[in-house]
């Protein structure tokens, strides 16, 4: 029997909210874990970058040392040359033999500037009136000069390669030169742009490194003495980008490392000396400060491929986290649906039990007044109140018949309730089913005072089957009783029993109204009634055949089938029962 209001299989809004909540929680946890993993990864990247900055600083320091060695080499020439000067020949021999500019590609110039004051220039000009040094005296604002006297430069028109070019005229160069003089140690300019016109089209920042040369064998001890004894400056000029080019070419840092160098010691703010790339960085970076000579540079180191230095755990976290979140949401959803369905099934089962109990209770209660009616009508029929007139007897007998039908219906309902609730207890024994069928046939003939012809063909021998006698009798009574109901008077009902090796078949064929093929599927359903003239007249609960099916099939592992062509051609019901004890357990009392 189908229920019209089955529970919805879909989750309620609160259940869906729970599922969504689990999903959000999973996503949140995944992202939280991802943030932790990414932080660890970023630290790994920073660690790598920090190592790169250390390597970079070492590269710069190495080159600085080389520059100073070169300048000291030149300074040493002065010590061995006559007149305590550096002659052109010595210069050429040194620079040529060392091949400095070829070997140290980051050097663009190397030179020597001699420091003069105005008195010295006048003295020299007296010796050589045509000396180009005389031009320096045209600048009357200064009394000291440092013209280039020896140089190896690369470009024509390059001031740092022009003999006679006064380095002190450039304020930036002057600051470094004065610093070198006063400290007695090499000093580097801040980044400066030395105009070279068409010969320096990139106009990149440049550094000039000065080493002071004194006219004493040892550098003077005090600043005042150093100022007094400064003789000249060895200088080299450097482009930061050429340093970085060499660093990269020599693989002194990883090829994917990006470097930005800033001169941080200028008073007017940082100046970028070098940038390996103008693309914005997509990962972490590390800033460190290194000392380059007297300068303080800020290195900003990043990597083009931060993912290489990451552990890859972030991908695992995202993948696993997403999978776990989805699985958790699915699991919660499935669990909630299962629980909802189970709850609905439990409730349905409980309602079924309550309904069956109510039906049982109601049916038992209905039997009580029917029992009373049976007693009182029986007493009347048996003469307890005296003789009855024929008319009185007829009326009372009709009342008795109707009451018996009511009792029969209640019995059917009770049996159907017990069958549906699996409350039957089968008592299986070997019974002669042929004899049982004969008994039912005889009883039905007596019970139905009609003109039907009920014929029974029984086998000669016993047919022993393992059955519950009472329940199979109920089934036979139902089917043969139906044959009477649905066969017009004077019709025929044929009952036969046959058996094979393992089963017995009881066949009941009537010449009644038949059952349309389209109605046969629902014939054995609970409360099923096929409307026709005789069914309306016969009445009935519509559960008789449902009970027959349950008793034969569920209790005995047998089968019950119907065949009919409909249209008043009669019907044939066939019951098949196993002859021997069944292997499957029968329903038991709860």
């Amino acid at each position: 029997m189908k229920h019209s209001n089955s529970p919805s299989p879909y989750l309620t809004p609160s259940h869906l909210a729970n599922v969504f909540g689990v999903f959000l929680l999973g996503i949140s946890l995944t992202f939280a874990l991802l943030a932790i993993v990414q932080d660890i990864d970023d630290n790994n990247v920073r660690q790598h970058l920090y190592s790169e900055s250390i390597r970079l600083e070492a590269s710069f320091q190495k080159r600085l040392t080389i520059y100073e060695e070169i300048m000291r080499g030149i300074a040493a020439i002065r010590l061995v040359d006559a007149d305590n000067t550096i002659s052109q020949d010595s210069w050429d021999a040194y620079v040529g033999s060392t091949n400095v500019l070829e070997r140290i590609r980051s050097l663009t110039h190397i030179g020597y500037a001699q420091r003069y004051n105005t008195d010295q220039i006048r003295q020299l000009s007296q010796d050589d009136p045509a000396s180009p040094l005389m031009q320096l005296l045209s600048n009357q604002a200064r009394t000291e000069f440092a013209p280039i006297v020896l140089t190896n430069g690369a470009q024509t028109g390059d001031p740092l390669a022009i003999k006679g070019f006064d380095l002190l005229q450039d304020p930036t160069l002057r600051v470094a030169m004065d610093s070198a003089r006063d400290s007695g140690t090499p000093s580097m300019t801040h980044s400066t742009f030395i105009p070279r016109g068409v010969n320096n089209p990139s106009n990149e920042p440049e550094l000039v490194y000065f080493m002071p040369i004194f006219d004493t064998p040892q550098p003077p001890a005090s600043t005042a003495e150093r100022r007094q004894h400064i003789d000249g400056y060895v200088y080299v000029s450097i482009f930061p980008h050429t340093i970085m080019d060499r660093v990269v070419a020599n693989q002194e840092i990883e090829s994917d490392t990006r470097v930005n160098i800033f001169d941080g010691t200028r008073t007017n703010g940082e100046v970028e000396l070098y940038a390996s790339s103008r693309e914005p960085s997509n990962g972490p970076s590390v800033s460190t400060t290194i000392a380059f000579g007297n300068l303080s540079w800020r290195l900003n180191v990043a990597t083009k491929n931060p993912d290489i230095y990451r552990t890859g755990w972030s991908y695992i976290v995202i993948t696993v986290g997403a999978m776990c979140t989805v699985l958790a949401a699915i699991l919660i959803h499935t669990t909630l649906r299962y629980r909802k369905r189970q709850s609905a099934l439990d409730q349905h089962a409980k309602l079924q039990v309550i309904r069956d109990e109510l039906m049982s209770l109601a049916s038992h209660q209905l039997r009580t007044p029917a029992s009373g009616v049976k007693q009182y009508l029986g007493m009347l029929l048996e003469g307890f109140a005296g003789d009855l007139s024929p008319q009185q007897r007829e009326l009372i007998e009709k009342a008795d018949t109707i009451n018996n039908r009511q009792i029969e219906i209640v019995d059917q309902i009770l049996l159907a309730t017990d069958v549906g609730g699996a409350k039957l207890r089968a008592v299986m024994k070997e019974e002669d089913i042929a004899r049982l069928v004969a008994e039912v046939v005889d009883e039905q003939r007596l019970a139905h005072k009609t003109h039907h012809t009920l014929a029974y063909v029984a086998p000669r021998d016993q047919v022993l089957a393992f059955i519950d006698r009472d329940y199979i009798k109920v089934a036979l009574e139902n089917i043969i009783g139906n044959a009477y109901k649905y066969t017009p008077d004077r019709g025929t009902i044929d009952v036969s029993v046959s058996h094979s090796g393992s089963s017995v078949t009881v066949t009941i064929t009537d010449s009644g109204v038949g059952i349309e093929p389209g109605d046969q599927d629902r014939l054995f359903e609970k409360f099923s009634r096929i409307p026709n003239e005789l069914s309306i007249k016969a009445g009935g609960s519509g559960i008789g055949l449902y009970v027959v099916k349950e008793l034969v099939e569920s209790l005995h592992d047998g089968t019950v089938t119907v065949s009919s062509a409909g249209g008043n051609t009669g019907s044939t019901f066939t019951l098949t029962l196993p002859l021997h004890r069944s292997a499957s357990p029968k329903k038991v009392v709860q």
Partner: protein, 126 residues
């Protein structure tokens, strides 16, 4: 408990439904039996202690003390009284229990006509 000698042709009707008790009373007195009526098991036991009948017609579902409870108590009393159960419950377990507790017959009220009741009573008292 002493063994009681039941009064001849006496029947105790134990039935809580008044109209059924009256019907059984009418049927059985018409057949010459002497009847008493109790509407529950407790009252039935009181009557038994005073005057044991030959036969008890026993309903199963009653207030205070139901049929099975009454049969338990009856067993302790060791009387010669016979019991016919008259019930509207045809539950097999209940039928088995009643027989195990000493009932001679189990009749379903709705299926038992007055003449059939009288016949069964007469057979039981033979």
């Amino acid at each position: 408990m002493t063994k009681g000698t039941p009064t001849s042709r006496s029947i105790l009707i134990v039935e809580d439904e008044q109209f059924l008790a009256e019907a059984y009373h009418t049927i059985l007195t018409a057949k010459g039996y002497r009847t008493d009526v109790a509407h529950d098991g407790v009252r039935a036991l009181e009557i038994l202690r005073q005057n044991a009948p030959q036969l008890i017609l026993l309903d199963m579902r009653m207030p205070n003390l139901d049929g099975l409870g009454f049969l338990h108590e009856l067993q302790k009393m060791t009387l010669d009284t016979k019991v016919i159960v008259l019930s509207n419950h045809s539950n097999r377990q209940e039928i088995d229990d009643a027989y195990k507790l000493g009932a001679q017959r189990y009749l379903v009220k709705a299926w038992t006509s007055p003449s059939e009741l009288a016949r069964v009573v007469a057979e039981a008292l033979m």
